[in-house]
């Protein structure tokens, strides 16, 4: 397996606080990979390091064999790695179409081409009806979808999804899962940060669990979830069993 993304001993300290230490794992070009861990474990910080919002203080991050750690986000995006935000960040002064168009400009410098590409993405995500709606007007599920639409419009090879399903109804959540599941077939690998164990089981073959910024377990989803240390980190006791 040639890795699409490879992390080698990545660490990030905020002053004295070590938010991440010695995180290593790799992701293949055609998989959906999960990062699990309790709140405050460092998952979002890890995404920030991978996508360039933060520079790691230790280690290396390789994307398609090239070092990307410490590079600015726009360069990493241009290489084909894009992330969504746990707290959605729409461009509130723009319509849905304009939001997606901004992202499409990453591959299509001409306005006409960018607009066509943005329409394609919206149609693909079933959001064409909202094209002219102001981004401000969307509900939570639609805002999440807009986050994904924008990310996809940059035509990535790897998509990082930070807690995309939190706060969605079961139906919305199921629809989102179907969407995510179809991405590898379109040549897009995915890393999800997700709390729901059933969702992780259904989406991902491999996973890594982190607590306090350190890797607890890495391997197939079943191995990671069944690992006693992961069980303890999640539920605070070793004998607990996470229900599927």
């Amino acid at each position: 397996m040639t890795a699409l993304l490879e992390l080698k001993n990545v660490g990030k300290a905020f002053g004295g606080l070590k938010a991440l230490s010695d995180v290593s794992f790799s992701v293949a070009p055609d998989e959906i990979f999960a990062i699990i861990g309790p709140n405050g474990a460092g998952k979002t910080t890890l995404f920030n390091c991978i996508a360039g919002a933060l520079a790691p203080t230790q280690g290396e991050i390789l994307f398609q064999g090239r070092r990307i750690d410490g590079r600015p986000p726009h360069e990493i995006c241009a290489q084909g790695l894009v992330r969504t935000f746990q707290i959605v960040k729409p461009f509130r002064g723009m319509t849905v179409l304009e939001n997606v168009k901004v992202a499409a400009f990453a591959r299509h410098p001409r306005p006409r081409d960018a607009e066509a590409a943005a329409h394609r993405v919206l149609a693909h995500l079933g959001m064409e009806a909202f094209a002219e709606t102001d981004a401000d007007e969307l509900n939570v599920a639609q805002m999440r979808r807009l986050e994904i639409a924008r990310a996809l419009a940059t035509e990535p090879k790897l998509l990082l999804l930070d807690e995309m399903l939190a706060g969605l109804t079961p139906a919305e959540s199921a629809a989102m899962c179907d969407l995510i599941r179809a991405l590898p077939r379109q040549g897009i690998a995915v890393i999800v940060v997700e709390h729901s164990i059933p969702v992780v089981r259904s989406l991902c073959e491999r996973a890594v669990a982190i607590t306090f910024g350190e890797v607890l377990a890495e391997g197939t989803t079943e191995e990671v979830i069944d690992d006693p240390r992961v069980q303890e980190a999640y539920l605070g006791r070793a004998d607990a069993k996470v229900d599927a």
Binding site: A53, F91, R92, P111, D136, E137
Partner: protein, 335 residues
């Protein structure tokens, strides 16, 4: 965003106003001042309203343009053909240096505003102390008794109206072109959410810098024009904080979410303040009247005149759908 048709309509209105103003020197003066402040406010708002960069030191660039022309003409005898480009180049370079410093250290919002103000103040006091630039007395441009196209010296006012009207229309046309291009989308994305914009491939520093440099360049052109028109510059008139505040006021009153919004503010307020200055019997009463108008306008049109107009227009177009209001609310918020 409204398209090129809007710019064409605005341009036609500017031409019409110019033709009307031809009848009277006094009207032409009002027309010229309105275009001058309108172009300045539009260029200021390209940063503040469209890119989210609030400059409080924009007079600096007006001053650079004005002093380039005044110093060039009075000390060196250089024609505008030399001094206008010189002023623009210096202003754009100054903006590049300021921008690189500010954006390098991530100055945003109020901090960026204060930094620009500080640069402006440094320039104000340096010029006020500089013998070569006439200290606080300023510089008087040499005049001859005959018109000279080369030196942009005319007895009539209309040639000046022609020049500044062209500057205004060109500013709007450039702005509209950029807004429909990638640059404009990136500017608005940076205004709305810088972090998200960067994650989606926007080189924040480069695009903010581009906006700053363009805005500074246009302001310098206006400053250069001012020097030739008034034939006198001093630190208070072209480097003072009041000038920067005026750009801000016209933009807020006119509407910051739209390219041409600030022009509406200037169209309403510049003639009004000229009128007040001429009719007010009591010293200072015009300032009070002006302030009252500002407060009233800010209260009844929180999204500016342009925002109010677009809301009405959208309401009429899409009566049963409530979306029209929403985008104005968004425009208001982003302003």
């Amino acid at each position: 965003m409204s398209g090129f048709r809007t710019v064409a309509i605005v341009a036609a209105l500017v031409v019409a106003a110019f033709l009307l103003a031809l009848s009277d020197r006094y009207y032409m003066d009002v027309f010229i001042l309105t275009c001058f402040y309108g172009a300045l406010a539009v260029s200021w708002n390209m940063m503040a309203g469209l890119t989210g960069l609030m400059s409080l030191g924009h007079a600096l660039f007006v001053g650079i343009g004005a002093y380039s022309v005044a110093w060039g003409a009075s000390v060196q005898g250089w024609p505008p053909l030399v001094t206008w480009p010189m002023g623009v180049v210096i202003a754009v370079a100054a903006a590049a240096v300021m921008g690189m410093l500010c954006f390098r250290y991530g100055l945003r919002g109020y901090f960026f505003a204060i930094a620009t103000l500080a640069f402006n103040e440094v320039a104000f006091f340096s010029v006020s102390a500089s013998v070569a630039l006439g200290r606080s007395d300023g510089l008087i441009l040499p005049t001859s008794s005959e018109d000279s196209v080369m030196m942009l010296q005319f007895f009539d006012k209309w040639p000046y109206g022609l020049i500044i009207g062209t500057v205004l229309i060109a500013t709007l046309a450039i702005g509209q072109y950029l807004l429909t291009s990638r640059t404009g989308y990136y500017w608005r994305a940076l205004r709305d959410n810088e972090e998200a914009a960067e994650a989606l491939g926007v080189n924040a520093r480069a695009y903010k810098l581009r906006c700053f440099m363009l805005s500074a360049g246009i302001s310098a052109v206006c400053g250069a024009f001012y020097a030739n028109y008034v034939a006198f510059v001093d630190p208070r008139s072209v480097l003072g904080i009041d000038l920067s505040i005026q750009m801000l006021v016209y933009s807020i009153i006119g509407g910051m979410a739209l390219l041409w919004g600030p022009l509406l503010g200037a169209v309403l307020l510049v003639p009004f303040s000229v009128l007040l200055r001429n009719i007010s019997a009591m010293q200072g009463s015009e300032i009070i009247a002006y302030a009252v108008l500002l407060v009233v306008l800010a209260l009844i049109l929180p999204q500016g005149i342009a925002g109010w107009l677009t809301a009405r227009w959208r309401r009429r177009k899409a009566a049963p759908r409530p979306e029209g209001f929403a985008s104005v609310a968004a425009a208001e918020k982003s302003a």
